[in-house]
Structures are given as structure tokens and as C-alpha cells.
Symmetry: C2
């Protein structure tokens, strides 16, 4: 391989965490765009919106009144996708196979300030969000019916976020979702073979190469993984092997807050817009096992590709074949690093 082949020619890269491939077409960034442009809303929101069901003191759809919260506020989702009290059942009718799935869904407001996003908050303010994630994770992990906790945020209307108030969600359930199941298997296989953390070993390699690192502090690295799918996908990885977010000590929660702050601020600068994304934390199942093979991490999947209005569509080929990207991870890193 010539060193530049990955920047010039179509190829596929292997995702060590899922065992799947992404198709990379570096030469394709040149094609003209005649498709849909997203609406941009760079209008500044007020700090309080009386019609917002997440603002402090306001009434939600079910009639409950939000407290006058001062930093983070968590409540159970009024329209949860998972029910905690539904009956247990199984379908095993030839090739029709189904199983009941129960769980608990929560909403977590990051700030009472309606106008903010994580990108506008300080590392110390984000630390309070991390504390709340830890508290919720702990409580759900202690629930014997909950075996996995998915923490995530949808930011921006283009990512299906139905309310601009800064908030995320937690969906927890009794079995492992598809993506977590893949990562569980890949990490377990590696750990059994090498007696070390897959992601930890990957991190050492990346830190040595310095080709895809956006930022690092004492406890965390922000990088674009070699196998990134979304144009500006990024990942925050703790340097120590930790299987879940409870393993962070106090100093580390602040370093984590700084890592989130750095990447979200860089995103906002990239196309001069409040950068939409879905972000999520993948961590060990809460099934009571030790899960030493797990190395938790947080990923950001932002859809924008060329500007505030042109996104990458994961459609046709991507839905039926494999994800496909145009600009390489290495090009994206350079663009983001220049904004720090």
C-alpha cells in the first residue's frame, strides 16, 4: 500500500467494535449537489420559553409541573417507548419470533436555560450532567429487570429532536440492543484472546500515530475512529479501561466534561451553526457480571457534510449495502483540529 491510497481510492475500513465495514470514497467529495438543503435556524432562542414543556416551572402534557430546577432535571418519559409494567410473553410461531421487552425511559434536561446546548456550557456545568448520568445509570443498574442502559442525545430538528431545550434521553431495557450486542461480542472475543481491552489497545495505537486525534486531556481522548461512518463522527474514550461511567472518579468527570465541551464547540464552529448530531454512550450491560472486556465510550454521529444545510444521506446503498462516506476520517480530523 502506498501511504496515500486511503486518501485517493475507494476502499473499505473495518470497524473493530462492530465487526462491520464502511465504504470510503475519497474521490467522491467532488460531485455537485443538487439535492435537498436543510433549513438552518440560527435564531437565538430565549432563555425561557413559556410554551416549552422542559423549561423549569412549566406544565408538561400529562399535567405535571416541572420543578424550578437549577442545573439538571430528570423525569420519566411521558411517552416512553418501553413500558415497565407490561406482561411477559413470547411468540415462537414457525418463522415469526417475538419477545416482550420491558424497560424504563427517562428525559434529562441539561440546563434550565432554554437557549443553551452542551456547546454553550462550561466543563463544570457539563460535569453536573455527567453526575446525573452516573446517578441514573446506578439506579437503573440496580434494578434487576434492567440489563442495559442507553444514554443518548438527539440534537437539532434534523436529528428528529422534537424540542430544542437542551436535553437527552435514557432508554433502559431487559435485553441488549443490536448495536450493543455486536460491541459486546467483539470486545469479549478480543479480551478472551489478548487479555486486554480492545479499545484500550486501539487507543495506544492512535496516540502513537497522532493521525486521527482531535484532543486529549489527562483522562480522555477525542478522536475520529479509523472506521467512522458519519462525515464528522467522533468518539470520546477514557484512557483507563473503565467498563461503565461509574468507574470515573471526580477529577475524571470534569475531564470528561471538558472533552464534551471541546468537541461540541468545534462542531458549532465548523459550519457556523448549532451543529446537529445524535450522541450516545456505549457501556457494559448491567447484568450483574463484571464485564471487564468493556471499555465505555461516547460517540457523536453528526449528519452535516458540506455546510450548515447539506447533510449526508444514509439511504439506498447505505440501507441495503453498507454505510458509505466521502471525505476520509483523516481529512475530517484536520478540519476539526484547525478549529480548536
Amino acid at each position: 500500500m502506498k501511504n496515500n491510497d486511503l486518501q485517493d481510492y475507494s476502499h473499505k475500513r473495518y470497524n473493530i467494535l462492530t465487526g462491520e465495514w464502511v465504504l470510503v470514497s475519497p474521490h467522491r467529495a467532488k460531485r455537485p449537489w443538487q439535492g435537498q438543503n436543510e433549513a438552518v435556524n440560527n435564531e437565538k432562542r430565549p432563555s425561557y420559553d413559556e410554551t416549552c414543556y422542559l423549561c423549569a416551572g412549566n406544565t408538561r402534557i400529562n399535567g405535571e409541573i416541572n420543578p424550578k430546577y437549577e442545573d439538571v432535571f430528570v423525569f420519566t418519559n411521558d411517552f416512553a417507548a418501553l413500558q415497565s409494567d407490561s406482561p411477559t410473553f413470547n411468540v415462537n410461531d414457525g418463522l415469526l419470533v417475538a419477545e416482550s421487552e420491558t424497560g424504563i425511559c427517562k428525559v434529562i434536561c441539561f440546563s434550565p436555560d432554554h437557549s443553551k446546548s452542551l456547546a454553550d456550557m462550561s466543563p463544570a456545568e457539563i460535569q453536573k450532567v455527567a453526575y446525573a448520568w452516573q446517578r441514573e445509570f446506578k439506579e437503573l443498574a440496580d434494578n434487576p429487570k434492567i440489563n442495559y442502559v442507553q444514554i443518548f442525545e438527539n440534537k437539532g430538528a434534523v436529528m428528529g429532536c422534537s424540542n430544542p431545550h437542551p436535553h437527552g434521553q435514557i432508554w433502559s431495557q431487559s435485553t441488549l440492543p443490536n448495536e450493543v450486542d455486536k460491541k459486546n461480542t467483539q470486545q469479549l472475543n478480543y479480551f478472551n484472546k489478548n487479555n486486554s481491552s480492545l479499545l484500550g489497545d486501539y487507543l495506544s495505537q492512535e496516540l502513537e500515530k497522532q493521525e486521527r486525534i482531535i484532543f486529549e486531556n489527562e483522562g480522555f481522548v477525542v478522536l475520529i475512529p479509523f472506521w467512522a461512518v458519519w462525515p464528522f463522527e467522533a468518539m470520546i474514550v477514557p484512557k483507563r479501561q473503565m467498563s461503565n461511567i461509574l468507574d470515573m472518579n471526580d477529577a475524571e468527570t470534569l475531564q470528561y466534561g471538558e472533552a464534551i465541551s471541546v468537541i461540541t464547540k468545534a462542531y458549532d464552529k465548523l459550519f457556523n451553526t448549532s451543529f446537529p448530531y445524535s450522541a450516545g454512550i456505549h457501556q457494559a450491560p448491567t447484568d450483574g457480571n463484571e464485564n471487564q472486556h468493556w471499555h465505555w465510550h461516547m460517540s457523536f454521529y453528526p449528519p452535516l457534510l458540506r455546510s450548515a444545510t447539506v447533510k449526508k444521506f444514509m439511504v439506498g446503498y447505505e440501507m441495503f449495502g453498507s454505510p458509505q462516506r466521502d471525505i476520509t476520517a483523516e481529512t475530517a480530523v484536520k478540519m476539526l483540529r484547525d478549529l480548536l
Copy 2:
């Protein structure tokens, strides 16, 4: 299980073709929608648009002039994601793994009439598209460097379609994409165990139950699979086990045209709009093997959920966990069947 549990309570269903699960939350269709609305464009397009690079007689970006074609017109994509002449290389550097991938990408115009979509074409006109798919598939299958051919269509701006002229694409390549690889494995395992077609056996079960069938003719069934992900996802399956589209005889290509016509027309009626979707044909690899375990099928993944302007977002939980749907396959079938 009580018969209605699947219509009332959160559960997951197993996709026999991919081995993955979809989370179903029937109770959730009731939540209010405060998120993004899509723009609807119900404006009638002209039959010829001089600025369209797919209309007959027009000049494409690379300077080539389209012929004055009368039904279907195929050409090699001017901005192909896969290159046919790039060098072969491998990266095997610790946990960084990549491989060159070559291929051929084509564009196929379904009609010279700029104003039409498959939904506006007769079964006989769609049959000509099926003939073109067969011709292209055959030519690519005969190419020793091509081991898989993905035929697909992105319809509508919301599905990233960059030109409204009725057209689809063909991306062919040397290895199997992720989704095809999963279906290959699942079908092979089943065939080795049962000596019959997984999808054929599933079809028999569905034809007996008549709960998820939208339409059938002599050769084809249109149904919503038990494990459908998208709100109005549908699948066209040949009744005979055929591993690829070349196995269709002449009468069957017309029956296939009728099946496409029926489902796309029903879609357009559902929300009174030109219904966006990505559609794709999954079929056997073109690797020279017999691939008897393959039963080809065409799937439609339409994003709309509640109206012409409100789509289902596959974001946060779906990206990090599993796909999730609100209305059940059985409810969606009833809505579509009422429109035939």
C-alpha cells in the same frame, strides 16, 4: 401470549433474514409531535426539464449528451462511489484494517418523462425497467471482478435523491456489503439445515395467515414483513424460489411490474403525496456459485410516519441501540390494503 399483546405492549421482533431485532412500541403512536416537518412538494413537474441532466437529449456535467431514449436509459455514474480501475491494496496495521474495494456504478433512468415516477407507470412500462435490471445484472455478473450487484432507488428529496427525474442506481463491487452478508449467512444456515428456502417457507406461513399480505398475483406477493422497521416498509417476494432476477421468465417480469405498480400507487395514496422511499433488490452474490439458498426480494423503506410532512427519525436510540417503530406491521398493512 394473548393474541393482542403484539398490538398493545412493547416487544421486539426477530428479523429472520438479518438475525437482528426491531423494537416495537405500539402504544407510542399517541405521543404529540413537536419536531421537524418536511417540506412537501406536490407541484406537478413538466415532462421535460431543460436543466435536468437525466432528461433525453440533455448534456450531462461531464459533457456527454444523453440519447433521445424512449423508455429506459442506463449510463455509468459520472461520480461513482466505486472506481473500477483503482489499485489493489490492504491495510493490516494492528487494529487498523482496510481493503481496497473496486466496482462499477450505474444510473438507470426509468422513463424519459421527467414528471413521472414508478407509481405513474403501467406494469408494462415497469416491465421494461425490470428487463434493464436483468440486462445490467447479467453484464455485471459476467464480470469476474464483480461479486455483488446492488440495485436500488432513492425517491424524493427527503431520501437524499438529488434529481427528481425517475431513476435508480446500481452499485456493484467485489465483496459483499454488510447487509447482504448478514442475509447470505442467515439464508445459508437455514438452507443447510432444512434444505429449503428461508424466505419461501416464511412466505407459505404468511400466505396461510393472511395477516400481513398487501397483494398477490400469480408470481409475486407484496407484504409487510413481521419484522419491518420503517412504518410502511414492504417487501415484494417471488413465490418460486429464485436466487436472482435472471430467474424470472417473461410472464413473471410483467407480474413483478404489476407488484411494483400496486405498492407504489398505494404509497402515493396513503398521504396524498409522491411517497418517498429507498427501495432495493437483495439477491445472490455473483461469485459464480449456485447460491441455491438465496431467494431474491425487493424491499421498500419509506420514512413517512404520520402524514406527508412527518417522518420517522432513525436517530439516537435507533443508531446506538436497535431500530424502533411505533405503529405495528399489522396496522400498517390494514391502512395500505384499504387503498388498493
